[in-house]
């Protein structure tokens, strides 16, 4: 399998506060990777650093064979790295359809068009003229995912797409994951819901306090190991 994304020794700072201490991670083409970890572990900071809305100059990040450390975020986006940001962050003065269309601004060609997104999330069709923020939480999350897909990314990063949603809605959203991967997009999800992450991912990274504390295939990891890596304590 060809390596799609690889970071080595990634660091990040908020002023004097260091949020990441040398994170190494690899995503191969066609994989679904999950990052799990407690509040404040640095998961979102990691994604923001990857996509360039946190400074990443001089960092060792290879994406699709290119060193993207220090590239402006819009250039990284056009190279095929898209993100569903934490909290969705739909544009509130844009309609659902406009939110989707703006995701295609980078001009990358591929299988994801308005029609393909509406096929993936049929719920959105009748809401297309509504303001993006006038939808249910689950539908908003679908718009956020669709918006990212519209750029036809090689790799889709999803930051806590299940947060605050009912289990039924979470299941509906996660049903899209294999369909997305089936169209040639690799996926990296950040999840606090460990069982969801283990169910969907081919490999898992666990983060704690800015470091990767455990990595492996779900079936090779025991509950004790995960609890240890997640909370930093011996399981009872």
């Amino acid at each position: 399998m060809k390596t799609l994304l690889e970071t080595r020794g990634l660091t990040a700072f908020y002023g004097d506060f260091q949020a990441l201490f040398g994170v190494g991670l690899r995503v191969d083409e066609g994989e679904t990777i999950a990052i799990i970890g407690a509040n404040g572990a640095g998961k979102s900071t990691f994604l923001k650093t990857l996509v360039g809305i946190r400074p990443n100059r001089g960092q060792d990040i290879t994406f699709d064979g290119q060193p993207i450390g220090g590239w402006p975020a819009q250039r990284i986006h056009k190279a095929g790295l898209a993100v569903v940001p934490e909290g969705r962050r739909l544009f509130r003065s844009l309609s659902v359809e406009e939110n989707l269309l703006i995701g295609a601004s980078g001009g990358r060609k591929g299988p994801w068009t308005l029609k393909a997104v509406y096929d993936l999330f049929p719920d959105l069709v009748e809401k297309r003229r509504n303001p993006g923020t006038a939808l249910s939480g689950g539908q908003q999350q679908m718009v956020a995912i669709g918006r990212a897909l519209m750029s036809n990314p090689r790799l889709l990063l999803c930051d806590e797409i299940s947060l605050g949603l009912a289990p039924k809605v979470v299941r509906a959203i996660y049903e899209a994951v294999p369909l997305i991967r089936g169209r040639g997009t690799s996926i990296l999800v950040v999840e606090q819901d460990v069982s969801q992450a283990l169910a969907v991912a081919s490999r898992v990274y666990c983060m704690m306090e800015g470091r990767v504390t455990l990595t492996g295939r779900p079936r090779d990891l025991s509950r004790e190991e995960i609890a240890q890596a997640y909370f930093g304590m011996e399981a009872a």
């Binding site: 809305i53 986006h77 003065s93």
Partner: protein
């Protein structure tokens, strides 16, 4: 009849104020950026129009597009090269920098054009008017000015709600931080916004030059009128800016009808009244 006349004149004057205000409102809407030098840019455009048409004798059909294009290009470059550097979470640096720019522009105009007040002659148009029944005459020039304002605002509305550029500008207004994650370049989008606003400033400057005498110190008062129109109408809604301009214009002409010295004060009083009664303006932005 004098009252009806005053109101009509006020409405038409409101078109000019809406032109003053549109650029200010646009820049604030997209970037949360308050340009203190806005009025001075209007005056710069007025002098530019005067220079191109009177000193160089170029026909208005060529001169108007040239003035608008020069202003737009200057706006784009000024944002890209200077103002983008001071944009950030803190709103104070842009205010300080544009305040400084305001003083620099006034002094540069004073050096170049002297303190004498000037006006752009509009020839026969200046006195032409439409007579509507008993005692009411509408000047062609104010009417054309009002029509220009409607056209400019409709054009901005079209750009904002019917084009991919407008979509990007509205998205930037909502949440600029994540616009790069859609492939947009913040520096470029901000500069486009200022370029658009400056094109409107060009149009406003030409009308200012034809309507009144102006001098290098005329900017701050135009800024004040623009502010008042924006606040009266409500931020972030371009038709509301027209409404704000009209209310301000009518307040002034009706005030002048009461007493010639009362014109400007009447405008300020109405502004204060609306600020007290409805601080968000009469037609604030809809939020989802």
């Amino acid at each position: 009849m004098v009252w009806v006349n005053a109101i009509i004149q006020g409405v038409l004057l409101g078109g000019l104020y809406a032109l003053f205000a549109a650029g200010l409102s646009l820049m604030f809407g997209v970037m949360r950026f308050v340009n203190i030098a806005h009025g001075d840019f209007i005056v710069v455009a007025a002098y530019l129009a005067l220079t191109v048409m009177v000193s160089l004798g170029i026909s208005p059909w060529v001169a108007v597009p040239v003035v608008v294009a020069v202003m737009a290009a200057t706006g784009y470059l000024g944002q890209r090269l200077l103002l983008n550097r001071v944009l950030g979470k803190d709103i104070l640096p842009p205010i300080l920098v544009t305040f400084g720019l305001s003083i620099i522009l006034q002094n540069a105009l004073l050096e170049t054009f002297s303190a004498d007040s000037v006006r752009l002659p509009a020839g026969a148009l200046e006195t032409a008017s439409l007579t509507l029944g008993d005692g009411i005459a509408i000047g062609i020039l104010p009417l054309a000015m009002f029509a220009t304002a409607i056209g400019v605002i409709a054009g901005l509305q079209l750009i904002f709600y019917r084009t991919p550029l407008g979509r990007m500008l509205r998205a930037t207004s909502d949440d600029a931080e994540i616009v790069p994650l859609m492939g947009g370049n913040n520096a470029h989008i901000f500069a486009i916004a200022t370029g658009l606003a400056s094109a409107v400033v060009g149009v406003a400057g030409i009308w200012l030059a034809m309507r009144t005498n102006f001098d290098p110190a005329a900017g701050p008062v135009r800024l004040l009128f623009a502010f008042e129109a924006v606040i009266i109408g409500g931020l972030g809604n371009i038709w509301a800016t027209l409404a704000g301009g009209i209310i301000l214009g009518v307040a002034q002409t009706v005030g002048a009808q009461i007493d010639a010295g009362f014109q400007i004060l009447a405008g300020h009083l109405v502004f204060l009244l609306i600020l007290i009664v409805k601080p968000t303006g009469l037609m604030p932005r809809m939020t989802g």
